[in-house]
Amino acid sequence: MKKTLAMLVTLCLLLSLFAPVALAEGDVTITFAFWDTNQEPGMKAIAEAYMAKNPNVKVETQVTPWNEYWTKLEAAAQGGALPDVFWMHSNQFYKYVTAGMLLDLTDLNLDYSPYPAGITALYNYEGSQWAVPKDYDTIALAYNKELFDKAGIAYPDDTWTWDTLRETAKKLNDVENGVYGFAAPNDTQSGYYNFVYQNGGKIFENGESGFNLPETQEAIKTWMNFMLEDGISPSLESFTDMSQDDQFQAGKVAMEFIGSWMMSAFTSNEFIKDKFDLCVLPQGKTRASIYNGLGYAGAYNTANPDVVKDFIAFCGSEEANILQAQNKAAIPAYKGTEHYFTDLFTNINIACYTEMIEYGVQFPFSPNKSLWEGTETELMTSAYTGELTVEEACNQLHEAIMEIEAE
């Protein structure tokens, strides 16, 4: 009796092992990984629209925060267990494509003319296309209207230069009440990279680091001096307790550089949504705003390459771009669908983001950027704390980058 029971239990356990396989017969499940929780509704909408059209396919979405995303993806790549479809970023693209981790999408024969050429080119390597453009983002100047009104100062406009920014920030500075004119944190994309390109400097181009150039160093110095000399930015200590975006949303800084991807968060924050507006970035020697675009990539070893390709093609379609725009995810890459995104923001000058693409500069990337990014942050922190001068930090970084890239 006991034995029969034991046999039965074992049998049940064994059968349950095969259950998921048995159910999946005829159906295909693909995983879709990305890092931005703000964009989850948009991505889910795309997945659902695709599943409605292809009832035999199940798309599972997985959100992982930015830092953990790349740690997890690398481990998955080495273990041969990549998600079927995932977001790709310019910082990491080279690493994955040169290691042969991505699915070649060239034979999709997609029409790439509706996408910004720079972003299509970003994910093109050795004549093949490895990711389909998803969106693009640029950086704008956000300002707190209430603080400007209180000080009786005119709002920023497109005539602004670095000097106007500094002088106005000085006037807005009210340290006793915990209000600073501007935020100048240790940040690249929504930070000093914009200044570097506005000053004719470079971060990385044609296999060369630009951190040894005087233009680059001068721009970074100007950026840091907003905090260190002029005292118009909260301190580095202050930013560790509260990020620049949180400080701006709490009304503690009057102006900051902000990426378009933050707009859905800002406009749903009760405290700030009616108090802020946007303007194009102030100019240095020239105009520049860092732009970047993400792409949809597939895993080289996916079990269902045809389904994956079909899904990626759908993600790149006009329909999917409209869906991600309508869900406030990001500025869609597909030309002519931007207004679905910008129309959602009625009381801010959201158009400045799409305007700046004209003189936008691609967010610098290099084959091994993911290997030196961490060093960059650490060295810049040392420059902020005064442990190194800006020149020393930049020169050390230049050496480090060239050493890593040489291999």
Binding site: K95, T98, E237, T240, W372, E373, T375, T377, E378
Partner: protein, 307 residues
Amino acid sequence: MSAQAINSDLRRKKPFRFQSDWGWAYLLIAPTIIGLIILNLYPFVETIILSTQKSQGLGAAKFVGLQNYEKLFADKQIWQSTWNTLYYMILTVPVGVFLALVLAVLLNSKIRGRDVYRGIYFMPMVVAPAAVAMVWKWIFNAEVGILNQFLGLFGVATINWLSDPNTAIISCAMIGIWSAVGYDLVLILAGLQSISTSYYEASEIDGASAVQRFFHITVPLISPTLFFVVIMRVMTSIKQFDTVYLLIKSTNPAYKKTITLMVMFYREAFEKFNKGYASAIVMWSFVIIMVITAIQFWSEKKLVHYE
């Protein structure tokens, strides 16, 4: 003795033969042994191999000999991180164990609501470390944190608990002590309760004071438990990772003066994707742990009293 006799003598010795009941023994210890080999021994060997390789990104690793170790000993940050780790240990172990001992003695006496206190002290132990770190992050917040607000009542100037290079590691140590005291307390309490009351009764008749009883009866008899608690505490403090990792980012001005060896290892391996160098860091902390453990076992013979 004839050759035949020797032969029969040899034959009488039991030859090695697999005995049927050994199979069960091997089978029963197999899960543990296999687990140890797969989860501990194999990665340990792999780490040693990896520490002699250059492995960046997704490409294949290549052998570079002792290059990672050369880099390690020339790296100023490794010495700073080693000191940070030891400093964290010095800050947490003595204070933490002492606090746990005092509280355990107090909770061993008959006071009202003793079980409630025991529950309260043990509470931090059941909370996930990440949750603990997030709560303390707000307590330590320089501008809106409750700690500065409270100290402000007494006219204490704002302290940047988590971003001042001199205080950040102390703040992390405070969290470490707070989280561990309850657990240590329970272990010590168990030790205290196993001491026979007859010792105390006898010493009382001989006229020993409470302090004398504490140092001449309680401390020697509790020393095996204390030794165990200290070893555990030293180990966990050398391996300190979660609190520091969650609270100290690389944009923090206190970053260099706070990160422990384990945090430095994690950032090298999984954020800078430099696995070879990261493995060398791990080997270095392995050496440190071995040295400290050797010291501890040597001191066990001198300081610990076994009944």
